[in-house]
Subunit: 305 residues, 2 copies
């Protein structure tokens, strides 16, 4: 990639949430010309002041951009920012590449890619994993699939955002499929961790000791190790919210039905996230599932009432 | 511990299965005087030839022993080898310590400890984790609770068998409670791993690549990493059998009901192990749950028909 300012790739980052803001920051730090946009004007203003340029709409951000990094919550928003009113593809130069980072059903990713390509653009199916901190460090895991042309065009942005880039083939939908398999496991592991901690509390065990023993035993998972400190600290400020797994395990559930593959473990976990959301904790940290078990069983967890 | 042969602790190992045989071997290697017994006479003969002394019954093994390591499958067998016909406690010298290693419901561990102590013996609640290889290396994780006297008396054997010994307090039942919490997670993670691999196969993904990506991602678990190579290799020879988790998640289910703590994730996982056992795979490797998903969904996994 040329390093001179005049030749640096121009990148629009659409969606400056906890992931998108960090990714936009990483892109700017690596010398790319970044324009950020978001529905929250104050976030756009903050990004413009700190790292780059702000834009009021996806169309405004996309004007002149080589690469459109779309980091919104779901398929509906992805469709909206690309094809809706003031959407990016009304303004992006022909041949620009859409780097689609939301977790989508593979079939929807293929549908969006088809519509994008029909308008003369490239599309990379590129869901992300790793959390806000690694987004800000340019150290995300990216599970990408798409044509060689799409990879080539997106390369400067991928290099700036990824700690680990998996190139999973030419077919759009493969990246999304890998992400869905990961989310099945991640969601089940969070719910199971919360269920296990609730059982431990019910049995009167020292929860800090449980954390120490389990993280050194065969019952460990990445999610147990990462999320259960939130339960030990009674700190449910959202790093990643309950409703994200209502959405992602919902996609698993949809695929499970359409593909005729029973997925009872994922289905149980979905119900736990749904109950937690229904109890008013949808925007809290996903470890709040532990609070739901505590509420049901009359348990006291750290920080609880 | 004295190292002279004349003063080495005498240990009876009751149960020479995949775990017990390795533990008895570790004890002998550390210089303890080990007598092994098992219902399979040929296993006893092999142990006697290779590592120590064989005995035909628990009573015969326990005669003169300081430490009785009980490594049988479940509570019924533990009760039988201690208190049944030719049981160890009919012959062990007063003050000997029972080191109970099977996964038991905490209430049952307390019951067995009460009966053991009423006869003038010590009892250590000492479930184990780590698999046959670590048993043979003297590198098990032991989750132990019991009186200071029980720990002191059992110490030479614990030191010889454990890579990591957790001393979890004076109350019998605490060790078992920790083990049950671990087994809830371990069982759920195996079933979820199999469900995720089945979904990946249904979506047409390269399963070796799935293993590579997941083990480097937030969806990873100790069990995914440890068991899924069996699926990739199509090798379901039992390292740990499906029926072990029918039993252990059955204990979780019993406790969940008696304690009035709903545990829907563990309940779903139990049903998957039960279905796999019902389909004729109870004595196969616990990763065989993946074969059940494949059978239901008409999928082809490596090594499958």
């Amino acid at each position: 990639m040329p390093q001179g300012d005049a030749e640096a790739a121009k990148v629009a980052v659409i969606g400056l949430g906890s992931m998108g803001y960090g990714m936009a920051t990483s892109l700017a730090r690596k010398g790319l010309a970044v324009t950020g946009t978001d529905v929250r004007a104050e976030t756009v203003a903050r990004f413009a002041a700190e790292h780059g340029t702000g834009a009021a709409t996806p169309a405004e951000a996309a004007a002149g951009a080589d690469i459109l990094v779309v980091v919104v919550v779901n398929a509906e928003q992805t469709r909206q920012v690309l094809f809706g009113e003031n959407g990016a593809l009304a303004a992006a130069p022909p041949g620009a590449v859409v780097v689609s980072c939301a977790t989508l059903a593979p079939a929807l990713a293929r549908e969006l890619a088809g519509e994008t390509e029909a308008r003369g653009y490239l599309y990379l199916d590129a869901p992300i994993s790793g959390g806000a901190q690694r987004a800000a460090e340019g150290a995300l895991t990216i599970l990408a699939s798409g044509t060689a042309e799409a990879f080539a065009k997106a390369r400067p942005a991928l290099d700036a955002m990824a700690g680990k880039l998996y190139e999973l083939g030419a077919d759009v939908g493969t990246g999304s499929s890998f992400k869905i398999v990961n989310q099945l496991l991640a969601g089940v592991h969070i719910a199971a961790a919360c269920e296990a901690m609730a059982l431990a509390a019910k049995l009167g065990l020292d929860l800090a000791k449980v954390y120490e023993v389990i993280t050194a035993s065969a019952g460990n998972s990445w999610m147990f190790e990462n999320r259960m400190p939130h339960v030990l600290d009674g700190d449910y400020r959202p790093r990643s919210a309950v409703d994200i797994f209502v959405k992602d395990l919902g996609i698993v559930s949809d695929i499970s039905r359409s593909e005729r593959l029973p997925a009872p473990i994922a289905a149980s976990a979905l119900q736990m996230f749904l109950m937690t959301s229904a109890a008013g904790m949808g925007r809290d940290d996903d470890a709040s599932v532990a609070k739901l078990y505590a509420k049901i069983a009359g348990l006291k967890l750290p920080g609880g009432d």
